[in-house]
Amino acid sequence: MGDLWEGLTRAVWLVLTLDPDLMEISARSLQVTLTALVIATAIALPLAALLSVRRFRWRRAVIAVLNALMGLPPVVVGLIVYVILSRSGPLGVLGLLFTPTAMVIAQVVIIVPLIASIAHQSLRELWQEYHDLLISMNVTQWQKISTLLWDGRRALLTASLAGFGRAIGEVGAIMIVGGNIDNATRVLTTAIALETGRGDFALALALGFVLIGLAVGINLAIHWLGRTEREGRW
């Protein structure tokens, strides 16, 4: 328990003194996660909308697999990305291993299924509501998708935030592909893992509290921004 308390005070202290190391790894955490989030969202949302509006033979199977891939174990993703990016792997020549880019790639792989599944869940409901109207208007696939995405934007926020949460708290994969290299690929989660291994639980907890604070702060900010839109039934 003492550790919890000490962790809290150290977290406050680190933040108040604008500890340069903390700033650096926090900034890197945010940068990697937000980049991954933008890419993953750009892939997952249209995919989710497509799965909602388009009937094809293997649709149910694809959705089930997408759901299942939410359970993709990060360490395995990390390993696979490592094997592909490693010098002896097919993309080794790009020299991406142990760079933030590699971390972004791993995170994208991890959160795309999560965002797509959750987004599909709410877009499907919206599609049921809109189905008759849009079909009767003879809209193209692309128009269906963009209408759903636009009118469902509030609900899609939850999907994106879930992805953000998963990505910023992720450690298994980015430890493997990023390598937790000081000043290069160390982020909050890998730093926490490091301090835990060192037995400095208080510092690990302090970093953890900073990370939680960051995640909560960003969520609250987004919700607050969302609220400034006109309050309506959607």
Partner: protein, 237 residues
């Protein structure tokens, strides 16, 4: 202008959960006037309308327009019994079909406002559509259908939630459209309205066309006892 009609249904049928919702129906529709579909609740009016329009799956039979189906679809509009409100403002809802056709934002919204005023929604153009009252939603759906100036207009009980004045206004708009050459295919439970608008009547029972006749003949001397009972407001079998 390509010709859409005649439209020919042969053994057309839409099925769901092992039940024929409408059909099998054989029908030939010519290009003029207003056909009013009437029949008891659950007789398949909505299903038939959706089937002709292409919004319900054709489980058996054929439906043939005089032109490629895609062209025909492009010139149709449908007003649903239970209007679907997009989660946008009223004006944006009405402008939506124009935006789909590539009309610019400003131009589409301007036209939408015009139409909104015409159907009597002047006061609510900037409200979110889902908060509208039942009648207002129906007016919105009408404006949204009319704005593309469709050549075929499907209407599923478009005036069920409207007050007397609004009903009269809408009937005038529909009569004008008909005069301008729009083909109207509509259902209603309001026999008075059917009388006012119909050129021909299609009487549906258990998903099938039970009777079909010129309006004056149908209302004055219905050919079948069921139609007569229906017009009297009796229970039909």
């Amino acid at each position: 202008m390509t010709e859409l009609f005649p439209l020919v249904l042969e053994g057309a049928c839409t099925r769901r959960g092992g039940k024929d919702l409408a059909g099998p129906v054989d029908l030939r529709l010519e290009g003029q006037g207003a056909s009013i579909i009437i029949g008891p609740n659950g007789s398949g009016k909505t299903s038939l309308l959706r089937l002709i329009h292409g919004a319900a799956r054709l489980s058996a039979g054929t439906i043939t327009w005089a032109c490629p189906t895609d062209t025909a679809r492009h010139h149709q509009a449908f007003v649903f019994q239970r209007p679907v409100m997009l989660r946008r403002s009223v004006a944006q809802n009405i402008a939506y079909p124009l935006r789909l056709r590539g009309v610019g934002r400003r131009a589409a919204l301007d036209q939408a406002r015009d139409w909104g005023v015409r159907v009597g929604l002047a006061d609510c153009l900037d409200l979110p559509a889902p908060v509208l009252s039942g009648g207002e939603q129906q007016k919105l759906a009408l404006a949204r259908a009319l704005i593309t100036e469709p050549r075929v207009l499907f209407l599923d009980e478009p005036c069920a939630a409207l007050d007397g004045a609004a009903t009269r206004d809408i009937e005038t708009i529909l009569a004008d459209a008909k005069a301008a050459g729009t083909r109207i295919i509509m259902t209603t439970h309001d026999i008075g309205q059917a009388r006012r608008l119909a050129d021909e009547v299609i009487f549906l029972l258990h998903g099938r066309v039970h009777d079909r006749a010129r309006a004056d003949i149908f209302f004055d001397a219905p050919a079948t006892s069921e139609a007569a009972a229906f017009l009297r407001g009796d229970i039909v079998q």
